[in-house]
């Protein structure tokens, strides 16, 4: 086994993206000072950072609201998605009656649903519901696919030993579905954030709300462009954090047995 090559490539794996990112930010800063761009056109990275620090109380509060909404939406969507998936996978009748609703919810653009929900629901609840709706579908469809993608021979084996449907569900279908479910969860995590942000913008236009996206809308009314960028930065960071967290979760769950977690040198 070569020792140096993997270490080198691992270093490159971490260093290269960081370098590229640093270069982009440097270029941005340079462009702002070179062309003397006013901050209401394009704030410099330095100013965005300063705003982030100056408005930290306000922004942290908004970040917390957005994160809470996203997390709660993801949890609700996961529970609902998995339960419905089990129902759909175990009964043709349920599949034919319920799946159309799930598809309709999925294909209707969220941004069009949000204002309607805002009529009936409190802004916070409406935002939560929107985030749930978008996060729900990938969990549902991936889990259904997983629950029904069963190795035929393994399923025969369960039949041969007289397994009832509960045992088959617990010991065969659910473990088989796990990688599919986790893949769906990763997509859902990103979508929950997008859903929360989109719905908050709708709520923000209506002048109500408190999350990060609402801050963006509010700052745009006040032409506070640096704060818009600061809030945007936090949303991106939140997205990255969610993605990383779900990746780690997937790795931890599948690391012992799934092919996807095999490294090249293993």
């Amino acid at each position: 086994m070569e020792k140096n090559a993997p270490a080198e490539s691992r270093l490159a794996y971490f260093i290269l993206p960081l370098l590229a990112l640093a270069a982009a930010i440097g270029l941005w800063q340079l462009a702002v000072s070179a062309f003397a761009l006013p901050h209401y056109v394009l704030p410099s990275p330095k100013l965005v950072l300063d705003t982030l620090i100056a408005d930290r109380a306000l922004l942290a509060n908004s970040l917390l609201v957005t994160l809470k909404t996203t997390a709660l939406a993801l949890i609700i969507a996961t529970i609902a998605g998995v339960l419905l998936a089990i129902l759909l996978a175990s009964s043709r009748f349920a599949e034919y009656t319920l799946f159309p609703f799930a598809v309709i919810l999925q294909v209707t653009p969220l941004i069009a649903i949000a204002p309607i929900l805002l009529i009936y629901l409190e802004p916070n609840t409406a935002v939560l519901v929107c985030a749930c709706i978008v996060a729900f579908f990938p969990v549902l469809s991936n889990t259904v696919l997983g629950l029904t993608s069963i190795d035929r021979n393994l399923s025969d084996l369960f039949t041969l030993y007289g397994a009832n449907s509960l045992k088959t569900l617990l010991w065969l279908r659910i473990p088989s579905a796990l990688p599919y479910f986790l893949g769906g969860l990763r997509i859902a995590g990103g979508l929950a954030l997008i859903g929360a942000v989109a719905a908050e913008i709708a709520a923000g236009v209506a002048g109500r709300g408190s999350g990060l996206a609402y801050r963006i809308v509010e700052s745009s009314y006040r032409l506070n462009v640096p704060r818009m960028f600061a809030a945007l930065l936090l949303i991106s960071l939140a997205g990255i954090a969610i993605f990383a967290l779900l990746n780690v979760l997937q790795y931890l769950v599948l690391r012992r047995w799934h092919e996807s977690t095999l490294r090249a040198d293993q």
């Binding site: 021979n153 393994l154 025969d156 084996l157 041969l160 030993y161 473990p175 047995w257 092919e259």
Partner: protein, 261 residues
Amino acid sequence: MPAAAPSLSRQNSPLAAFHDVGKRFPNGVTALEDLNLTIRAGEFLSLLGPSGCGKSTALRLLAGLTSPSSGNIEWNDRSAAREIGFVFQEPTLMPWASVENNVRLPLRLKGMSGRAADLRIDEALALVGLSEFRNAYPRELSGGMRMRVSIARALVTQPKLLLMDEPFASLDEISRFRLNDDLRMLWNRLGCTIVFVTHSVFESVYLSSRILMFTPRPGKIAAEFEIVAPEPREGNFRTSPEYGAKCREVSAALASVMGER
């Protein structure tokens, strides 16, 4: 596992019989037609035939995984119908479970746990020589080792009847010869009945006490061969003139069966 039951003492009473069994699939394919065959208690029976002639279908019928569209399967020993081990062409292990838990599956499904189950698992793993790998996961094993886990899983319930569907087809020749020897040894020791599907003439002659040759689809019995050789058959049977002669005889029969169509 039960104590050694030497093959000498095996009677040839029938265990199960197919009577005019036919199998037609919903898509119109007739896999089997008027199939008559008897499985004798304690024998090592090979089902030999060209691809697609219905060997797997016959095995699945025997295991009760599908039912005949005509005719019936008669069991002399009803209990044997419920004590079946099945080895598929692929190892078919649960990738999320360790070797030990894969082997434990049939016992769990039959509601057996505790000390007794642990003992059975120890025995089954020892029989296939995988005791040290009980905590490994399938992806960490070689193809031959996975196949042996699959065999251990089939043996752990101490079945009266072991059904094997081309279990070694995807293995290299060296592993296949080794597993052939291991399987012969197991059969000699355990005294169970084995029905073994293969399309290798050489494998079937080496392993079996009897070979049933199928015609191309729809499958029927075209010929039957008894293989009498001193037990235990060790590696030297493979190089003996009797083995060569038998292989030639079976190959010739296979060629004429294929030529008839």
